[in-house]
């Protein structure tokens, strides 16, 4: 993202005459610290990490290169493969459900219901909590001796079993529930803002043409809200990639390694196992996977507009 915008500005600079270098000089001077931060911290840090992922650095970074050895080990490590599977499962489900639930809630609130402010506050409130707090709260809710299972059993259904956090097969769904609870509120508010931006006349025209409410949403409103969906998509995607603290608070990767995620692997191997090279290789793979998803999308999104 940041790369692309910097390419845009540099191209613009070349197109204008050199005198323009001094135009708005104070604004340009003011932005130097940010430019330096972006270059040194983000680009520089990334390059340094990628370079050191080809070394056999242990506790301290060193430059004895070993080629792709760290990557070979990474891709034969069971824990890394499990982490990727988990992230893919969580990512796809979280993306779909966040968008669907977020939009549905927003559409319901948009029907000019009574007490909209109250509902909006309730739905948005979980977003104010950190992932750690969310994780601990859901750990209690999903605990078989304290939470949902206990409540339902004490109501009379003695054989009711709901214990996702201790079952390796469904533990990721337990994490997904907590993640959705925390994240959908924000998406709902963004969708609601988008819905409010739709001109009343569109609705009037649809009504005159006799198009039903649901059909109007699907056929007319949603295509008009494309920029809103793009924003929501970016927010959700970045939340998925950095999934870490929710897992740490809820299960700490357990039972066994059933709910491990890539970010946790990186931290574990960099600091606990004192194997920087392995951690860097894993974080480089995370960067590559983000790039694989983002670059084609950014190309479609921004490349098309420039020509048009």
């Amino acid at each position: 993202m940041s790369d692309l915008s910097s390419i845009n500005t540099s191209e613009r600079k070349q197109a204008q005459r050199p005198v323009s270098l001094f135009r708005n000089l104070s604004a340009k001077i003011a932005s130097i610290p940010m430019i330096l931060t972006a270059l040194v911290v983000f680009v520089g840090g990334t390059a340094w990490t990628v370079v050191h992922s080809f070394t056999s650095s242990k506790l301290l970074p060193k430059t004895n290169f070993v080629g792709f050895e760290q990557y070979e080990r990474l891709w034969t490590t069971r824990r890394w493969l499990v982490s990727l599977e988990n992230l893919a499962l969580y990512g796809i489900l979280s993306l779909v459900f966040t968008l669907v639930i977020g939009f549905t809630l927003a559409a319901l609130l948009d029907r000019k219901i009574r007490g909209e402010n109250v509902f909006r506050t309730i739905f948005l409130y979980p977003f104010a909590l950190s992932f750690i707090v969310t994780g601990l709260a859901w750990q209690w809710i999903l605990n078989p001796d304290l939470g949902i299972q206990h409540v339902v059993r004490s109501l009379g259904w003695e054989s009711f079993t709901f214990n996702p956090l201790n079952d390796p097969d469904i533990v990721m769904y337990g994490i997904l529930i907590a993640g959705l609870w925390q994240g959908t509120g924000l998406i709902m508010v963004i969708m609601l803002a988008g819905l409010r931006g739709i001109d009343e006349d569109i609705w009037k025209a649809a009504r005159v043409d006799g198009i039903g409410t649901v059909k109007t949403y699907v056929v007319v409103i949603i295509p008009m809200m494309r920029p809103v969906f793009v924003t929501a998509l970016v927010l959700i995607a970045s939340g998925i990639i950095k999934l870490y603290d929710l897992v740490v608070a809820l299960t700490n990767g357990g039972p066994g390694i059933a709910s491990e995620v890539p970010a946790k692997y990186v931290i574990q191997y960099m600091f606990r196992a004192q194997n920087l090279g392995q951690g860097f290789a894993a974080s480089t793979m995370m960067l590559v996977s983000v790039a694989i998803i983002l670059i084609p999308w950014a190309y479609l999104e921004f490349g098309g507009r420039k020509r048009g």
Binding site: L59, G253, G256, F271, R272, Q274, N275
Partner: protein, 409 residues
């Protein structure tokens, strides 16, 4: 001008005053009940016997949480005055980078070489002939703790070794008792595996695998028995769903579980619960099969700090930690064995006496931490975490274990 001069003079005086009595920040991860009581013995002795002050920097969580924090502070240029680490290969690179203080002079003056027993503890602190840490205690993993309460409930005699324990398990289960308490954390699962390996495969096979890192030996018939034994242990611990080690120990204390495989630090928990060794619980070193202890333990390292007052305080602390009285006071509370062979431990209980006798008889091994890098240890812990939470077969686990040993450095 006058006022400024006064302020400057005041600052200077305050600075000069601090040169005599330095505040020394000491980081450690001893936070459970028994551990905290033990570490306060260090603080008391240091503050009372020297001019300096102990500033406690306890970091909650296990060593796995605290170690990265400690190491990043040392690397990041914000070193503490002194810090606990497990001796072994964890600090190797910090020493190479010149970040830790050389204690050789003090060690020679006080003759540590002659008093530290077993001498392998000091060897673990030595890097290229120089000494960089003070060992403070000996901890060994090779213990199983048995609850008399549980066996009374089931109407059985307390077993004398691992095989008898396995044979008694069905009766315990009938009485509604979990045979084996096991915290669901990978370091505990890995620890139990290590203990079973020494007890069942025997010392020779263990040495070949862990010290010489011979992958063929890891695939051998001795280790096959070990992996079959942890499959059994996994079945016996199936109903134990606690997390922390002291919660698992508590299951043994309250008679909800028959036994726990855990290092001798569990002793501190029994002590706080006012249980008596031999009456309320039994401890079997080496699972009663192979009476041998590894000699892991804790040591203190002193990061290099460019301040003479702090350096003086560091040396004073190093000397305090290893002095005979402090060693006795600390280790009695901690439930561990002292690093000096020349102190009187008649106040120690049954279990500690057993440990001391084994040490005297020379039944010692270097600990896994001294032989394997944290990297290899983490890989084995990951394998154990997966093994204990799934129904992975003994054969698969053994093969993957051998792979890790083959690729280790």
């Amino acid at each position: 001008m006058n006022r400024l001069a006064k302020i400057m003079a005041g600052t200077f005086l305050a600075g000069a005053g601090a040169a005599h009595a330095a505040d020394l920040e000491v980081t450690h991860w001893w936070t459970s009940g028994g551990e905290a009581a033990a570490v306060s013995e260090f603080a008391k002795a240091f503050t009372e016997n020297t001019d300096h002050n102990w500033v406690d920097g306890a970091i909650a969580g296990s060593g796995g949480t605290a170690r990265p924090i400690i190491i990043s502070r040392i690397i990041g240029g914000d070193p503490m005055g002194a810090t606990q680490l497990n001796h072994g290969r964890q600090a190797e690179e910090l020493i190479e980078a010149g970040l830790l203080t050389d204690l050789t002079e003090l060690a020679e003056k006080e003759g540590w070489k002659d008093v530290v027993n077993p001498s392998s503890l000091l060897d673990a602190c030595t890097y290229e002939g120089r000494i960089y840490c003070v060992p403070v205690n000996i901890h060994s993993w090779q213990w199983i703790w048995l609850s008399h309460d549980a066996y009374e409930t089931a109407g059985l005699d307390v077993p004398a070794d691992w095989n008898e324990f396995v044979a008694s398990a069905p009766k315990l289960q009938e009485a509604g008792i979990v045979p084996l308490a096991m915290g669901q954390q990978s370091w505990q699962q890995n620890g139990a595996f290590g203990v079973l390996a020494i007890a069942i495969a025997g010392v020779d096979a263990w040495r070949k695998v862990v010290v010489d890192r011979d992958a063929d030996a890891a695939m051998g018939p001795e280790y096959q028995k070990v992996f079959e034994a942890i499959v059994t242990a996994r079945e016996l611990a199936a109903d134990s769903n606690v997390q922390d080690w002291n919660q698992a120990t508590n299951m043994v204390i309250t008679g909800k579980a028959g036994a726990q495989i855990m290092g001798d630090w569990a002793q501190g928990e029994f002590q706080i619960a006012e249980q008596v060794a031999g009456e309320d619980y039994t401890c079997l070193p080496g699972l009663g099969i192979n009476e041998i202890l590894d000699t892991g333990g804790d040591a203190f390292y002193f990061p290099v700090i460019d301040d003479p007052a702090v350096q003086e305080a560091q040396m004073a602390l190093a000397s305090t930690l290893i002095s005979p009285d402090v060693q006795v006071a600390f280790n009695l509370k901690k439930g561990s064995l002292p690093v000096r062979g020349d102190v009187d431990l008649s106040a120690a209980n049954d279990c500690m006496q057993k440990g001391l006798d084994i040490l005297k008889a020379g039944g010692i091994l270097p600990s896994g931490e001294m032989n394997l890098t944290p990297d290899t240890q983490t890989q084995i812990e990951d394998l154990m975490a997966e093994f204990w939470s799934t129904d992975m077969s003994a054969g698969d686990a053994q093969e993957r274990y051998a792979d890790i040993i083959r690729s280790s450095e």
